[in-house]
């Protein structure tokens, strides 16, 4: 039972991490809190749903849904975010609030209001026996995806020139400009990547959590909490925040069911009381 | 006015930014703190004004230990500061900025109902200060529309609006043209008749013109103290500055 709960918590944490990491790098680079991040997650899931039901292949959906979401992100960047980069940060936040409304109704107009679900691929549709308890193998796959993305991001940021440029742009945009780093380009790519990761989260968890209108708001608040607890703009913070919130939430539900609704908010409030800039300050 | 800085040290990780700094001032005077880039003068300034805390040592103001006082509390005791980068209320007029700056001193800031602009006493005070800093013709102009030099003057004006006992000036001539620098030196000279002043500056000419006592910092250490003429003669100081 404990092992199962541990895996559940880990799987939830990895979902949160996929979502939070996109939000946090966008914040780190552009100082924009993208409230529409949840909408991109929803778009990823819905696009995945369409691909899956049209081609009857989960893997096609798994590959192309994040790409489509990244393209939506790129579109938003060109039409909106590029123009408000130097605007008042509050105004940027509120603009993304308008995007939530648009996203909600667009999805409703295109895909209707029914709840849908995506079947896990045959390869992963069975359960694995872990110490006499069956555990769905697809959930292990979600953990795997999270860890894989984590390793990739770490490698890109720490070991490649592009990563160094990104880090420079985050830490000190003015110096980055002096060093002739094309910040515009970097912003564009990282923004799209962040959106793509949200889409990846959407399609990855769709076989477990389903696809339905309103799924954007549920994860938005959770993701924001993870980012704020971890420390906005910090990759490490996103990971720590996701693990903290994921485990507190999963174990809280089992051992303190009365507090299930408020426990993560309480964790966040306490974190900010003692560390007003989040756990990892850049 | 008495300011005593006793054995102040500060380090970031393994880097010692300040080591055992001692400064004493117990009369109305203008103290200059100079040193090359990275000497630690900005850190010292921030420790005196309360923005950052020293690791060791003591800051005393009028024989009172103010180590644990925040910027706000030090300001209320009479330690006022101006910033190296303009720090103004950009959406407010010159007059209103100055009125606000004195509203705490005259204990009206918690007033909920009497409009600020109808408080005649505060207005008079603001106009007087505007005259002092040479902005009497710009009273109704929004700060963001002032020329850079005038903004620097307003920066000083806000600092003196609360009639402080000690004025801390962080590079008051930063980014100014030679003509503007001349104006501001004149202004500070005028102010030094009324206030005790500590200036942090890397432009030596400015300090020579203003200060009657100069402290020279180098790599976190106090290396020289004396009058402008003594500093000018000092071989050590020349070596630090000119690398000879």
């Amino acid at each position: 039972m404990l092992l199962i709960q541990f895996l559940n918590a880990l799987q939830f944490s990895m979902t949160l991490f996929l979502l939070a990491v996109g939000l946090t790098i966008i914040f780190g680079l552009m100082k924009i809190v993208n409230l529409a991040h949840g909408s991109l997650y929803m778009i990823g899931a819905y696009v995945g749903l369409s691909i899956w039901s049209y081609f009857d292949s989960f893997w096609l959906a798994f590959i192309f849904a994040p790409i489509v979401t990244a393209l939506v992100g790129a579109f938003l960047y060109f039409v909106l975010f590029r123009h408000i980069q130097n605007a008042d940060p509050m105004r940027q936040v509120l603009l993304t609030f308008g995007l939530i409304y648009i996203g909600l109704d667009s999805v409703r107009m295109i895909w209707g209001t029914m709840s849908h679900s995506i079947s896990a691929p045959d390869l992963l549709s069975n359960s694995i026996i872990l110490i006499s308890e069956p555990y769905p193998s697809y959930r292990l796959f979600v953990i795997f995806v999270g860890v894989f993305v984590l390793i990739c991001l770490y490698f890109i940021l720490e070991k490649t020139i592009i990563g160094a440029k990104v880090r420079a742009s985050v830490d000190d945009p003015e110096t980055a400009k002096l060093l002739k780093i094309n910040t515009d380009k970097i912003l564009f790519y990282t923004f799209s990547l962040g959106c793509g990761l949200a889409g990846l989260a959407g399609i990855t968890v769709a076989p477990i959590l389903g696809v339905e209108p309103g799924m954007d708001m549920e994860v938005l608040v959770l993701t924001l909490i993870v980012v704020v607890v971890g420390g906005p703009g910090s990759l490490k913070g996103a990971l720590i925040g996701a693990l903290l919130i994921g485990f507190v939430d999963s174990f809280g539900k089992v051992y303190m069911p009365q507090l299930a609704q408020i426990i993560i908010y309480a964790v966040m409030a306490l974190t900010l009381l003692f560390r007003p800039d989040g756990l990892y300050k850049r | 006015m008495k300011l005593e800085i006793n054995n102040i040290s500060k380090s970031y990780g393994s880097v010692n930014v300040l080591e055992n700094i001692n400064i004493l001032s117990d009369k109305k005077e203008c103290i200059g703190i100079i040193g090359p880039n990275g000497a630690g003068k900005s850190t010292l300034f921030k420790i005196i004004s309360g923005i950052i805390k020293q690791d060791n040592g003591l800051v005393e103001f009028n024989n009172k230990n103010i180590n644990n006082y925040s910027v706000e509390q030090r300001s209320r005791l009479g330690i006022s500061q101006s910033f190296q980068k303009n720090s103004l209320f950009l959406e407010m007029s010159v007059k209103e900025s100055l009125m606000l700056a004195s509203s705490h001193k005259y204990k009206i800031s918690f007033n909920l109902f009497k409009p600020l602009i109808t408080n005649n006493f505060i207005i008079k005070n603001a106009i007087k200060i505007a005259k002092d800093i040479g902005l009497e013709d710009y009273l109704e102009v929004k700060s963001e529309f002032l020329a850079y030099g005038l903004q620097r003057q307003l920066e000083l004006g806000i600092a003196i609006a609360s009639s402080p006992k000690l004025l801390l000036l962080d590079e008051p001539t930063a980014g100014m043209s030679p003509a503007e620098t001349k104006d501001i030196i004149k202004l500070i000279k005028k102010l030094s008749k009324d206030y005790s002043i500590i200036i942090v500056e890397h432009d030596m000419e400015v300090i020579y013109n203003l200060a009657n006592n100069i402290y020279v910092l180098d790599r976190g250490k106090l290396v020289f103290e004396g009058s402008p003429s003594a500093v000018k003669k000092s071989k050590l100081v020349q070596k630090i500055y000119l690398g000879i």
Binding site: M1, I4, Q5, N8, A9, Q11, F12, D105, R108, G112, T113, M114, S115, H116, S117, S119, S127, E133, P134, Y135, P136, Y138, R139, I208, L209, G210, E212, P213, G214, M215, E218, S250, F251, K253, V254, P257, A260, Q261 | -
Partner: protein, 395 residues
């Protein structure tokens, strides 16, 4: 030109726009106002109910005694305050004769006072809060759907009689979830069963049931009894399947959990679920077959129990109006006519309980089995003419 003039003109234009649009001119029609969600998470329920009701009206060419029937939609957005605003518009500006709605209980409770004060008959096509036909009952409020008690109580007795000794309860943490569980628990325990534990999950915030499922399995009960709807129902059923819950205990619950609306998404994960509901598509009567065919022809999908409730609401309205020869001028008579109607609908015979204004209907206990085109609901047992208690109601 004066600035004030411009502003005033601008505002008059806007305000006159909204003012004039809230006045409706046709007077001779019979107007049915709906207070249902057409946006937000429950949109699909609002659509099903409205579709099916219009189907009922279509069958009589939308006319009664020469008067045509007109449906005026009011979107509640599932928010009580918005529903109140819309009800005021429907009652005072559109002057509707009968209101049909809402879907959720909190909205119904918000509407309760205004319909009673204005004597506008309200037909409830879904909201199940027990109190609406108990302490808060009124002769102007008639419930055609169900009370939460009505659906779950028979199941408690039935399961206990079938040899289920212990159960674990799982439902969303809100009023309806708790009412359903307590109705089940009361009857289950009265029939000799034992509830080993109950857990209430954060409503509409629970997507991952993993932590709870581990808990349920650990309890070692003979059965788990649940109530979920919408995305939660889909997720629960699929996740329970992937954790192999049905290998160790019976998965049972209120029938919405495997509603025909959600079955296409749940697929074979739902097989084996035993539930109780006031309607299942496989009821073998002429009325039901006819209804399913015509609904499918018009809207292209199998109707759900929500559609049936909407259809029956339409039927009840038609019968009541017929008995008054289409005269809606006296609201008291209209309300009386509605509550004395009895019809045979797709779900079987319906009458209105004279004491509470709640519908008396059959409850079907079904099992999800594998069918030709995916899972189907097979009726195991029918409990006839189930009534809901309402001691605090004096009608």
């Amino acid at each position: 030109m004066n600035i004030k003039n411009i502003i005033i003109k601008l505002f008059f234009i806007i305000l006159i726009g909204f003012y004039s649009s809230s006045i409706s001119y046709s007077k001779d029609n019979i107007k049915i106002g709906t207070l249902l969600p057409y946006s937000g998470v429950y949109t699909v329920l609002g659509e099903e109910i409205t579709n099916a009701m219009s189907l009922a009206f279509d069958e009589i060419d939308n006319t009664i005694n020469g008067k045509s029937i007109e449906i005026i939609r009011g979107d509640t957005e599932v928010k009580p305050n918005i529903a109140l605003q819309k009800s005021r518009k429907l009652i005072s500006s559109d002057k509707v004769d009968i209101l049909v709605g809402p879907v959720s209980s909190s909205v119904a409770l918000a509407l309760r006072d205004i319909v009673v004060q204005t004597k506008t008959p309200l037909i409830i096509p879904n909201a199940g809060a027990n109190i609406l036909t108990d302490a808060k009952c009124s002769k102007f409020i008639t419930r055609i759907s169900f009370s939460n008690y009505q659906i779950n109580a028979p199941m408690g007795t039935w399961l206990a009689n079938k040899g289920i000794k212990t159960a674990f309860l799982l439902a969303p943490n809100y009023a309806a979830g708790k009412e359903m569980m307590s109705a089940f628990k009361e009857n289950f325990e009265a029939a000799g069963g034992t509830v080993l534990g109950e857990e209430y999950t954060p409503f509409r915030k629970t997507k991952d049931f993993g932590p709870y499922l581990a808990r349920v399995k650990d309890s070692g009960a003979d059965a788990v009894y649940v109530f979920y709807a919408g995305g939660e129902a889909i997720n629960f059923i699929k996740q329970a399947h992937s954790f192999g819950l049905s290998n160790v205990m019976k998965v049972t619950g209120a029938g919405w959990t495997t509603s025909p609306l959600f079955l296409p998404a749940q697929k074979e994960a739902a097989i084996g679920f035993i539930g109780s509901l006031n309607y299942v598509p496989s009821i073998n009567t002429e009325a039901n077959k006819l209804f399913i065919t015509s609904y499918k022809n018009k809207f292209g999908r199998i109707p759900s129990e929500f559609a049936v409730q909407g259809y029956d609401s339409g039927k009840v309205i038609i019968e009541a109006l017929k008995s008054l020869s289409g005269d809606t001028s006296n609201k008291d008579d209209l309300a009386e006519a509605i509550r004395t109607v009895s019809i045979v609908g797709p779900r079987g015979p319906l009458t209105i309980d004279k004491n509470t204004n709640n519908v008396i209907q059959n409850i079907y206990i079904f099992e999800v089995i594998a069918g030709k085109n995916g899972p189907e609901l097979k009726v195991l047992d029918t409990i006839n003419a189930v009534q809901a208690p309402g001691e605090k109601c004096n009608l």
